[in-house]
């Protein structure tokens, strides 16, 4: 880690003299490409509402962790997130509108979480999860996020084409020997892990925007998969770094500041697309 610190100090940002800012800087540097990667497919598959529900369900994960007396609820959050995402994927194949199904799961999970966490009026100590705090990131967190990023890129190299075919037409994907159900499940599990690993840093209320906005901004102006992927990554990185600087200068929430910058990108590309039409 020492050489990374030295490298960071060479950058022309005064805030990087603080260790907690160094860690926060590294965290958003790792999270931005991770969210960009998964965001492109989440938006392609019209799953913005799904990932939103997943974020809210973190409360139940935290709640279960607390009930079990765990100091660190991350494991419970990941386990519950995976369970919920697989359950939604399974149920939404039926006839009921997937909108309704996701809403039912989302509200239930959030309510259970709040019920558990608000026992004896103690919700306040969990409220930091709502808006997140990237400054509390530890080196252990960074390592974990790095591992998830590597894993995601690995899966993205193996399964991306299959995911693309499934999102256009599942039967066509099957005719190409793609296991549609498996591919879809791997993707939602990956989203669940990513959301849960980063939610303490980015906040339950803002995490979905980080996933959706860079991809939504990029797709306004691109026509192919390669441009989509790289422009989303670029927008994600620029939003994350400038959002972090803004939050440092203004003393605001990092997650929300990043979202504001990403939203700005969305409106810029949105009007660019309108003008070009």
């Amino acid at each position: 880690m020492e050489w990374i610190n030295t490298m960071l100090e060479l950058l022309p940002f005064s805030f990087l003299q603080y260790d907690f800012m160094k860690n926060a800087f590294l965290a958003v540097l790792l999270l931005a490409p991770l969210f960009a990667l998964l965001g492109t497919m989440t938006v392609n598959n019209n799953m913005a509402f799904f990932s939103d529900a997943l974020g809210h369900s973190a409360l139940t994960g935290i709640g279960i962790g607390t009930l079990l007396g765990l100091k660190e609820p991350l494991f419970c959050m990941i386990a519950f997130g995976i369970f919920l995402s697989l359950a939604i994927t399974k149920v939404k194949d039926g006839t009921t509108s997937s909108d309704t199904i996701i809403s039912v799961f989302s509200s239930t999970a959030m309510a259970i979480g709040i019920v558990i966490l608000s026992q004896e009026g103690g919700f306040a100590k969990f409220s930091s999860y709502l808006i997140g705090d990237v400054l509390t990131v530890t080196q252990k967190d960074l390592l974990l996020i790095f591992v998830v990023l590597l894993l995601s890129y690995f899966i993205w190299a193996l399964l991306y084409n299959s995911l693309l075919l499934v999102s256009v037409n599942p039967s066509l994907a099957v005719s190409r020997n793609v296991n549609a159900r498996f591919t879809e499940n791997v993707f939602v599990v990956l989203v669940a892990i990513t959301v849960m690993v980063s939610i303490r840093l980015m906040g339950i209320l803002t995490i979905n925007s980080l996933l959706i906005l860079p991809a939504a901004a990029a797709r306004n102006v691109v026509t192919n998969a390669k441009a989509y992927h790289w422009l989303t990554t670029a927008i994600g990185l620029i939003s994350a770094l400038s959002g972090l600087v803004l939050s440092y200068e203004m003393g605001t929430s990092a997650g929300a500041s990043i979202v504001v910058v990403a939203a700005l990108f969305f409106f810029i590309t949105f009007f660019m697309a309108k003008i070009n039409k």
Binding site: Y160, L164, L165, V168, N169, V174, S175, A225, K226
Partner: protein, 252 residues
């Protein structure tokens, strides 16, 4: 029609194939056989189970019974190559996905976000030009017309050349010229590569002209045989009314 494709599929036989969904019986004891070098048309009312049968053959829907692929030497073909042209693509039309991306995703292991080689793209262009469709290669998939999309899908379905080509109502939203072009191409494929083709369509006039065999489906096989024989049966008349000739087109 002496040229057989390299894999040498001879016939496909469905033995007692049934599909259930909960307590609903979607397909009931289908016994059916179709051959290479033939265009078999599947007709029936809406909800007769045509698409379900295609999905069972594709392996997407669980079914009981057996779907058996026999090679020319009489042995079973374990893993036939199946080409599939879906009825429609219900995807987000704004998806940033070019025709080249889509075709490459179906063909290549290299993820399309990493890009692809110019030579590979040239190959796709050449294949599309055989369908008079090479101008769409860099277009967004969601912006293609019905006819362009069908030709792109057909181009993909025959690369690699399949043993069995499945066309699900492949001409919805396509004008008459595009439709004729599509069927001429399909007939050419049948004659040249001797592949088995299974077609679902409502267009009885076209079926009358192009199909070698017609299967009337109503949960199970109601009638099968030559187009003119099937069209003369009572079961056919109950579903479609009288078929008076090629000028008449049904959309029932």
């Amino acid at each position: 029609m002496g040229i057989h494709n390299s894999c040498g599929l001879c016939r496909v036989e469905l033995k007692q194939v049934s599909v259930k969904s909960g307590s609903d019986i979607l397909l009931d004891n289908i016994n059916l056989e179709f051959h290479c070098g033939q265009l078999t048309a599947l007709i029936g009312r809406n909800g007769a189970g045509k698409t379900t049968l295609l999905k069972a053959i594709l392996g997407e829907k669980k079914h009981s019974g057996k779907i058996y692929y026999e090679k020319h030497d009489g042995n079973e073909m374990k893993h036939p190559t199946i080409g599939y042209v879906p009825q429609q693509l219900l995807f987000d039309k704004n998806m940033p996905l070019s025709v080249a991306d889509f075709m490459m995703a179906a063909k290549s292991k290299i993820p399309v976000w990493a890009g692809y080689q110019r030579a590979e793209k040239q190959k796709l262009k050449k294949r599309l030009s055989e369908m008079d469709c090479d101008h769409v290669l860099d277009k967004k998939l969601g912006l293609l017309s019905g006819g362009e999309l069908q030709r792109v899908l057909l181009t993909m379905a025959i690369d690699p050349m399949p043993d069995l080509l499945i066309l699900d109502e492949p001409v919805s939203g396509v004008d008459a010229t595009g439709l004729d072009l599509f069927y001429k191409k399909v007939t050419f494929l049948r004659n040249t590569y001797h592949i088995a083709i299974l077609l679902v369509s409502h267009d009885l006039a076209l079926i009358h002209r192009y199909a070698d065999k017609v299967v009337l489906l109503d949960k199970t096989v109601a009638e099968q045989g030559d187009a003119k024989d099937v069209f003369a049966t009572k079961a056919f008349r109950q579903t479609f009314g009288y078929f008076s000739g090629e000028d008449t087109k049904w959309n029932g």
